[in-house]
Symmetry: C2
Subunit: 133 residues, 2 copies
DNA sequence: CTCCTTTATAAGTTCACACTTATATTAATC
DNA sequence: GATTAATATAAGTGTGAACTTATAAAGGAG
């Protein structure tokens, strides 16, 4: 996997950019404005994020006059999905699992009885055996 | 999105852990050994990575004597897939796109004529209009 | 109980990366 | 051609995160 993709997706600002572009193409300026409101970051910062997204193949650019119109590039997303799908296969999980409802249903059910699982324990010292609290 | 997931997936070491666990459950020691060979990192480093994966809901743990057996947690993966799938929907891209061959085919085709696209330019200065070269 | 094994945490260091300000580059307008 | 608008790059700074070594905690074996 050309790790660049998940590396790019790892940043909350960049995920917001994608969500924004998910609503439709936008010039760099509009993206910068939106992120300035939401995250309080500068135009160059946004431009740098856009570069990362470009190099990861997650967005496309189209020049229009002095504007640069950005849009989602489904190629990068497909790459990420491919990688995740490998696990779905390995665990005999049907592709349907990708459909929101099903997946969410399962997740909520498991979170419900998460009692015997371990996730973000209090502030305690939890060594090897980990028979939590 | 509980960003922790993509944040966790962003690290190559952690992705390798998941790939490893994709082949079957393994005790922490085995994981540490495998990563020491491949990345040359220490046992505590691996333990810390495992914690991140746990908190992201990407792996499960089961205690067995003094050993802690790790496995893939499909919940976290489902979360990531849900998020990515939102875009797939938004762009009327059939779920088939997840199947490796199709997706790869499309990707390679686009990379082929990437001439007019912009991705990791040489060492040149490429301002707004970006009419490369 | 003592010792060994297994795994997690503590504390500290180092480096990448996200941000900043300043500036370069191009297109459009006057 | 000068000016303005839109966007990218340059250079520098600070913080987080990934690593290190040292150690704690717990189970199993003697």
């Amino acid at each position: 996997m050309s790790g660049e993709v998940f590396d790019a997706l790892g940043d909350p600002v960049r995920r917001r950019v994608l969500e924004l572009l998910g609503e439709g193409e936008r010039p760099a300026g509009a993206i910068a404005a939106a992120l300035r409101d939401r995250f309080g970051i500068s135009q160059p910062a946004v431009s740098q994020h856009l570069r990362v997204l470009r190099e990861a193949g997650l967005v496309t650019v189209r020049t229009e006059g002095t504007r640069r119109i950005y849009g989602v590039d489904t190629d990068g997303l497909a790459l990420a999905q491919e990688w995740l799908a490998r696990f779905a296969d390995a665990f005999a999980q049907p592709l349907d699992a990708l459909e929101t409802e099903l997946a969410r249903g399962r997740r909520e059910r498991r979170l419900a009885d998460a009692a015997d699982r371990e996730r973000r324990p209090p502030v305690q010292r939890r060594p090897p055996g980990a028979a939590a609290g």
